[in-house]
């Protein structure tokens, strides 16, 4: 028996315990596409693509500063919430379907304990953040909504990283940082949102894809 055998064995045990309890069915390509989706959606709202031609001529900055007729502002707000909800729902559906496919391929049931722990640790901060954002909207503090989504999303990522990819932790810290910076630039919050939910997901998706999926 070689002298380093016990160390090798303990290393193997630790690796397998960690690998078998972490949720790793996230598809990198799916994350990449949700990033693209977020960028398209947010750009539509921020740059008024498609809306400027309508009679409803309210820009994002106008909404934040509440500079306009209340009904027009309310319409713009509804559009914004509609687009954001569409992005969120389609992103979740894309992630779920690809995770299901990936788990089938690897013979690992999707609904195991690591999956439910990941979901729980991600969605508790997200739900709290969602309710908080609705309260912000209710109080007409629209400018803080985009930074708040980034901050709560960052918290969710950091807590879920313990049960899933380690890289989620760094993504979480970055989203937190973005959220706080965005709080200083109210009115440009959506630009930070495009970075945090768009560009970050595109890079993160590619990282996961090339580091784990392509093996």
């Amino acid at each position: 028996m070689k002298n380093n055998q016990p160390e090798n064995d303990l290393g193997l045990i630790k690796d397998l315990m960690e690998k078998s309890t972490k949720f790793s069915n996230l598809s990198g390509i799916a994350v990449f596409f949700t990033g693209i989706l977020a960028m398209i959606g947010a750009s539509f709202v921020y740059f008024d693509i498609g809306f400027s031609v309508s009679e409803l001529d309210i820009s994002y900055a106008q909404l934040i500063n509440q500079n306009g007729e209340p009904e027009d502002l309310f319409l713009k707000l509804k559009l914004l919430i509609l687009i954001a909800s569409l992005i969120l729902i389609s992103s979740i559906v894309i992630m779920y379907l690809t995770a299901l496919k990936k788990s089938g391929k690897e013979g690992i049931p999707l609904f195991n304990s690591s999956f439910s722990r990941t979901l729980k640790s991600l969605f508790i901060p997200l739900f709290a953040g969602g309710i908080f954002c609705l309260l912000l909207i209710n109080n007409h503090m629209y400018g803080l909504v985009a930074p708040a989504t980034l901050i709560f999303y960052g918290l969710g990522l950091v807590s879920s990283s313990k049960f899933s990819y380690n890289e989620l932790e760094f993504l979480g810290y970055f989203e937190l940082l973005l959220g706080f910076i965005a709080s200083f630039y109210i009115g440009s919050g959506l630009l930070f949102w495009i970075i945090g939910f768009g560009i970050c997901h595109i890079f993160f998706g590619l990282l996961i894809h090339f580091k784990y999926d392509k093996k």
Binding site: P6, S20, T21, G107, I108, N112
Partner: protein, 96 residues
């Protein structure tokens, strides 16, 4: 070297050691899942599973999900204790 006394011969093979590592931190785990985690081929794993089952370290559950058969495995209390002892043996060997 008192650590050697705690080591279990059943875990001499790295496949069996890996198998126990996975089962000790999970509930029922499927054959395919174990195979993928250990990066093994079919025949290789089956014999090791059989060996551990024979000494009552793991138990097997066979069921049907729809029309597909599904075999899952779980570590028994005997297996859990033996594995714990083996790990403490390994740790003692390193510390000595």
């Amino acid at each position: 070297m008192e650590g050697y006394g705690l080591l279990n011969k059943a875990f001499d093979s790295r496949v069996r050691l890996g198998l126990m590592s996975i089962l000790s931190v999970n509930e029922w785990v499927s054959y395919k899942e174990i195979k993928n985690l250990l990066e093994l081929t079919d025949g290789n794993l089956a014999s090791h599973i059989h060996a551990l089952e024979k000494i009552n370290f793991i138990e097997i559950k066979k069921q049907f999900i729809g029309k597909k058969p599904l075999t899952t495995y779980r570590v028994t209390n005997i297996g859990k204790n033996a594995f714990k002892e083996h790990i403490s043996g390994l740790e003692k060997l390193i510390n000595n």
